[in-house]
Symmetry: D2
Subunit: 279 residues, 4 copies
């Protein structure tokens, strides 16, 4: 399918491993958890401590929120980044946060360990190029209607600027189904692993948009061969300023985490990595 | 979402269990395997024996094939049904086979233990009604662009005629992705379990259309909470008259079967049924 | 794109013209109008007289209605066909009516001048074959998610049985837009004309599902090069038993008809047939 | 459908008219034409003179090209803008050109009369805000998978910053059809006119991606009620550095222009504005 000259293509049967504070993304299975939006210092740090205790590896939280309506909460901006900085200091957890404007990249990298580029910006080429000029790991979400080929070409934009540290993240595509908010396309995980050496995560929170479906789709993601999972957790989901319907409370998250660990052991002992059979 | 008066809705927190020759569909995890098309007696019986040895519970095989082109192989018709009858006699396996014409239902039920209604016929209402007038279990595949609500209404057509024995089967929906033939929507499995008491299977063969993706998506299906799996297996896939790209050989199928059994034990001990939390 | 051996392909730069009671489908521009469902004799004949007076060429009306829910009105069946027969007698208009069951074809052809095969049955291959064994003109609607290639292959099923009289009808495809019920794909009209010699109609009633959009999309259909238009008209739309939101009243239909006639003159004098440049 | 408080909503039954060098967008019917990419001064000025002679109102041409692959031609950047500036000087035509980076807005407005925001950037909110802080007319293309509601919310981002001069442009949505590159959704034109006071254009070049379909879809766009048309024209299409398959040559464009003028007269005399019946 792909032009074999692209840097994203797995030509030598090796997988990219990205070290983030000792977590080996692409080798270890990793869990990113935290609130949709950074709302207050208390909300962020309490959530951070809760997800850390439950076993999460990295903290997510949005300071810049791309919203359909201009009148919806747009995030705290730099104030939100500073709160994330405090959460990192207090918990030692690496920070994953989204950037939506190429002009903010230099500011965001002061606070973030991983820069997220969201679904709506997958083909925001100036932003991809700016992200490529940093050395920070980039979590690149799939566009809502994008093919694997288009997605990998966007990753190529980052690699072409000199940054090899890209983590793909499937977050659901738009389909005709209305029961779910999006359709989490798990088959893209083994498909991606057939073509590219880049690690790939799944985001069952956005992928389903429905609290009750997050748990089964998390477990299914593990067995589709995902390198990690991204989950939205809020200390008080019912008070969340965005995505209130899809954020787990810390208690439910802890139960899921304990099962993820056991399931990964099953996966390693029964299936063995990689499922996609490239290597 | 659904009209609570529909018979397909799970109102009393009980799940439908369908007994097929001692296999408890909806309670036990079941595997349906066999060729896309019945081509010859030898091909069918050899494949049947191979999948039985590997641990499959039921034999699939198409005698009536809905094909995009009128000039493509349309199946052997009644001669194919007779071959399936012999395969049942020789192996003791229950037979799952598709019917595409309401006029053939009475003939097909003489040979089949489960009648399959395919994706293109999900909204073939006369066929649904005819299937509803039998007592045979009906495997009802989801339409390529259908919502859960539309699908359940089609199951309702069968129940409304007096046949409660419907098994849903997710077989992939059409999306913009071209790397896969369809997109297997695993989130519909826990979604369906939230609403209906009917069992639901996954078909990773049609759902991906790509041999290399069948294995990981089979394992993911188990952990999405599927009640069973349907897989295409051919004694010599490279000689198949239809779907040559997505039929497993018996050897690969046997390897997958042995892992499915272990994974189901993991699922039962770690996740516990049901994942969707309805009961 | 297409296999040049298919009978539907325009290889000799000639277009199929189908004579229906003196109307030259594929040559003259034709308007099919009438109620979604045949409900009563009075409703059908009053509507028939109204659309005839306004200038419609053929009467449509459904006796067999494919409905999402088994509990929705399913049409009057043969009693509906008899009412259509009376309407034909009284008005002299040819009748277009849908058949959904291969077993009903022989009955329907006693009352119908054109047999409609609806969107959900585009790939109901036994029904296509049965329709192909009659000599009646067949109005074949495009499936909601079907490509032009798949559609033409379905027409080929009819031609392969010996019936060359197929009229294609674009009736809207499913997209993510929710403001309209479907998305009327007018580009498929000149696209079809590049490949096939078969005439092609547009159905702005189902294509938009919204009363206010029917008028502009009817005019746009004329200039996309359609050979005709199919419109839902009901003597009292607010009392309709199906599709109440998209049926025109006779008064609005008459206004649209008078503009269609003038617009066709503009089309012929300014654009000239065919727009797609095949001939 | 829409929140009535949004500024884009037509609450007082008046339509936005935007004056661009004497062309009354939203009142007069306007044609924007020119090459996909600005390649050389000669190519741009020759094309500009040709489209002006044929009757185009504005010149389009891309200096910044969003491309799927990072290795595809990305446009000439500021050098391209300077060529457009010369073309404006030489022909007197207003310039429509795309901006893809919020940091380039201040530079682009020195050369452009209308700033285009492309399909991939419809939800690039920082870019929308930056465009909203200028007073330049903004041509906002619809996203490939976007609903009317999402699109209007993006226009609202521009209006909310104080710039009321937004022109919507339908450029085709992604569907399952492969014969066309996109599906030009003409029903969105009367749909938009029911809700918003903003003018709306159609782009049959991108909307179909196929040279032979541009002409009929242009005429259909006029009768769907579009306020104008955007067409790609290249002095030598076969040598174009991008979109070689969908650029008209000046000769064919001139023929289409002469028909557009006559068709608009038919539209005004037979249909009368607006088709959508809001006013």
């Amino acid at each position: 399918m792909e032009d074999l000259k692209l840097a994203v293509i797995n030509k030598e049967n090796k997988r990219t491993v990205i070290d983030i504070n000792g977590i080996q993304i692409g080798k270890d299975f990793a869990v990113i958890a935290g609130p949709c939006s950074v709302e207050t210092e208390e909300q962020t740090i309490k959530t951070a401590l809760a997800v850390k205790t439950a076993g999460a590896d990295m903290l997510r939280g949005g300071a810049f929120k791309p919203r359909t309506s201009p009148y919806a909460f747009q995030g705290l901006g730099e104030a939100g980044l500073k709160i994330l900085g405090k959460a990192r200091k207090e918990t030692g957890m690496p920070i994953v946060t989204e950037v939506v404007d190429a002009r903010d990249v230099s500011m965001v990298i002061e606070y973030a360990d991983v820069i997220q580029i969201g679904s709506r910006n997958m083909q925001n080429f100036p932003l991809l190029k700016e992200a490529g000029r940093t050395k920070k790991p980039i979590l690149l979400k799939r566009g809502m209607h994008s093919t694997l080929s288009e997605w990998l070409n966007c990753a190529e934009y980052i690699l072409a600027e000199g940054n090899p540290n890209v983590i793909l993240c499937e977050r659901g595509i738009r389909t005709f189904e209305t029961y779910t908010r999006n359709t989490l396309d798990l088959s893209i995980i083994p498909a991606a692993k057939e073509i590219t050496h880049l690690p790939i995560f799944a985001d069952p929170s956005h992928g389903t948009g429905k609290l009750s479906l997050i748990e089964p789709m998390t477990y299914a993601s593990v067995f589709a061969g995902a390198d990690g999972i991204m989950l939205e957790v809020h200390i008080e989901p019912e008070k969340a300023m965005s995505d209130a319907d899809q954020q787990l409370n810390p208690n439910d998250f802890a139960k899921i985490m304990s099962k993820i660990k056991k399931l990964r052991q099953s996966y390693d002992s029964i299936v063995g990595r990689p499922a996609a059979g490239v290597e």
